[in-house]
């Protein structure tokens, strides 16, 4: 049985490195601010969020019918549709497709589902070389690290970190920290692999039942490149990614990138309805615990997630802890309500990595009640005996805290006896502009 991930301890290590901690905090907060500005440009923003939530709830509550509709349409379009109950079955399907054609090298674009399934090590153990085509994901691959953020996998690294890494792996100038130069180094070094690839793989942002289409959004163009440079395209999709129609797709496309980076749309927003002439396209519909989560009355709404990471960018704990501190595929507020469904004991501590300030819920484009689910998971952990005695005691003390805790000179909150709160990492670190009952604006200076 896995030991629980100690997120707080991991976060302390990250916090001790002030350069990375401050840089990450600044970057993510700037993304949050851009998200706010983008949302303000759209008069119907809140109506779109409501629609997105309702469309997802409609689809998930009729999921079996939409899965069957998608399967029929995708098959009619010429795709080969597979079903995978769990991560192992998914990985085996991918391997079998490649092995059948004697393919020993795969290019792939970023997909959190393939991270969840641990596909890359599975294939590499069987002699298949995998080259990530997303810049951030490739950086993490070269550094033997998992992604630290679901849309910016290497966002916790500075330009200096990348310059040093590329000099070790590609022989580039370790002192040239110019991001354009470094992106060029990656382009030069991965293009040869891409051009001679015999198979490419992508994930999917949305799957449209009506048209049997896969929709993928990237800024780099690397999903298209992974899908079409070779004659074999394999696409992995979580079953919750289905939406009913093109009409509903428009709602999500308007929300996704604005919520993620503050841009209006990604540079490449691509629809794959079937294989190109002379090529083969496989789609793997993956369950891996999703159908079980659908039956969790209190937690099924987390399946509405469109992976924009807005909740992560706004979360004071995530911004100060770094994504790797969660020790999990999905991190930040959305991660801590999803991961316990995969392995309850291992991720039993994650629901405590939150101030419960509600900002995550307020920025979520599909209106997942994230902070309420975090609280719900704490209760589940308590009911299941997953909370360590020390944490229980900490919660008891926190309950006894005065409503106006005093800051000590280090900025920690203190109780009336003057001793630092053992739950100081659970106290609100700052007031979030959109949090309920917290109308103040953020006062940090971000250049």
């Amino acid at each position: 049985m896995s030991r629980p991930v100690d997120q707080a301890k991991n976060a302390e290590t990250f916090l001790a490195d002030t350069v990375h901690e401050q840089r990450l905090d600044e970057l993510l907060w700037a993304m949050r601010m851009r998200r706010d500005a983008a949302a303000r440009q759209v008069p119907e923003w809140e109506e779109l969020r409501t629609l997105a939530s309702e469309i997802k709830e409609h689809t998930l509550s009729n999921l079996s019918q939409y899965l069957i509709q998608f399967e029929a349409r995708a098959t009619a379009n010429g795709m080969i549709v597979h079903w995978a109950r769990d991560a192992h079955e998914h990985n085996q399907i991918v391997y079998d497709i490649l092995a059948e054609q004697g393919i020993d090298a795969l290019i792939k674009s970023k997909s959190m589902l393939t991270e969840e399934c641990e596909l890359r090590p599975f294939l590499e153990r069987r002699g298949i070389r995998v080259t990530e085509t997303d810049l951030g994901e490739r950086i993490q691959q070269l550094d033997n690290q998992p992604p630290g953020h679901i849309i910016g996998p290497s966002i916790h690294k500075t330009t200096k970190d990348v310059a040093v890494l590329f000099s070790q792996k590609y022989g580039s100038d370790p002192n040239n920290e110019d991001a354009a130069y470094l992106a060029g180094v990656m382009r030069e070094n991965t293009r040869p692999d891409i051009l001679k690839a015999h198979a490419g793989m992508t994930g999917a942002n949305f799957v449209v039942a009506e048209t049997g289409a896969i929709v993928v959004a990237t800024n780099e163009g690397n999903a298209d490149l992974s899908a079409h440079t070779s004659p074999l395209h394999i696409c992995s999709v979580g079953i919750e990614k289905i939406i009913p129609t093109r009409e509903s797709l428009a709602v999500f496309i308007r929300l996704l990138t604005r919520s993620a980076t503050g841009d209006t749309i990604t540079q490449y927003t691509s629809t794959f309805r079937g294989p190109r002439k002379g090529a083969t396209m496989h789609v793997i519909l993956v369950d891996n615990g999703r159908s079980a989560r659908l039956g969790m009355k209190r937690f099924w709404h987390s399946l509405k997630c469109i992976r924009c990471a807005a909740c992560m960018n706004t979360c004071p704990v995530y911004r100060r802890s770094g994504g790797l501190s969660y020790g999990s595929t999905y991190m930040g507020p959305i991660g801590i309500i999803m991961m316990p469904t995969f392995e309850i004991r291992k991720y039993s501590e994650l629901p405590f990595a939150s101030t419960l300030n509600g900002s995550c819920t307020n920025v979520c484009p599909v209106k997942i009640d994230i902070h309420e689910q975090i609280y719900g998971w704490r209760e589940v952990m308590e009911e299941n005996g997953q909370i360590q005695v020390v944490k229980k005691e900490a919660m008891r003390v926190a309950d006894a805290q005065p409503s106006d805790p005093l800051p000590d000179r280090h900025g920690h909150t203190v109780n009336r006896t003057g001793s630092p709160s053992p739950l100081r990492h659970l106290q609100p670190l700052e007031c979030m502009g959109q949090a309920p009952g917290c109308p103040g604006s953020h006062n940090r200076n971000i250049s």
Partner: protein, 207 residues
């Protein structure tokens, strides 16, 4: 379908049926036209500029000299439009990876989107899909009459229901993955220039 695949399919669907919540209704989705910009062309130009795309609004009488001036070092100019020859055409490519040898490709898009500054391309215009991301630079002709207001309108285009591949392209490829600094290009095209130009024959391209 193999028996093991049939088992997996049935297991998943049975589990979904057993667990899915009580059916909730699908909302009616408006197109929000009351919030449309008054000048679609101006909005399109502003939107694509925000994504590092370039728009040429002046009339270009001679496409060849325009391309030679804008891309003086280009050797391989691929034309995917009938009114211009270039040095090569998509049909001449022997392999899809050969699109990486193209310096500039010139295409015509059937639709622009004012809200986002996107242009639509599909396998019809591209002929070789990899041109959309392996060619170095793209020059895309767009008739201003084919600019729609927003993404709701855009996804009504028949391509999304008919074509194997369609992409809304918005500026050149980019990435913010190194230190959060946005750079162009990433893995896709280095530049995207949209040249506003009336379609020579409205019935020329069909979708």
């Amino acid at each position: 379908m193999s028996s093991s695949q049939a088992l997996s399919r049935n297991t998943i669907l049975d589990s979904v049926r057993a667990n899915q919540p009580a059916a909730q209704s699908m909302p009616t989705i408006p197109h929000f036209h009351t919030n449309n910009p008054t000048d679609l062309v101006a909005t399109f130009c502003e939107s694509i500029a925000r994504m590092a795309g370039v728009v040429v609004t002046d009339h270009v009488p001679d496409l060849d000299s325009f391309l030679r001036t804008k891309f003086p070092n280009a050797k391989v100019i691929c034309s995917a439009i009938p009114e211009y020859g270039g040095t090569t055409q998509p049909a001449s490519l022997n392999h899809w990876s050969e699109a990486s040898t193209i310096d500039v490709c010139i295409l015509r898009s059937p639709m622009g989107v004012a809200e986002t500054g996107s242009i639509l391309l599909s396998d019809i215009e591209l002929q070789v899909n990899t041109i959309a991301f392996l060619a170095h630079d793209l020059m895309v002709l767009l008739d201003t009459k084919q600019i729609v207001a927003n993404i709701h309108d855009a996804y009504q285009h028949t391509y999304f229901n008919l074509r194997p591949y369609s992409v809304l392209m918005t500026g050149p490829s980019g990435s913010g993955d190194i230190g959060g600094i946005v750079v162009h290009p990433a893995q896709g095209v280095r530049s995207l220039t949209v040249l506003l130009s009336p379609a020579p024959d409205a019935g020329q391209r069909t979708g």
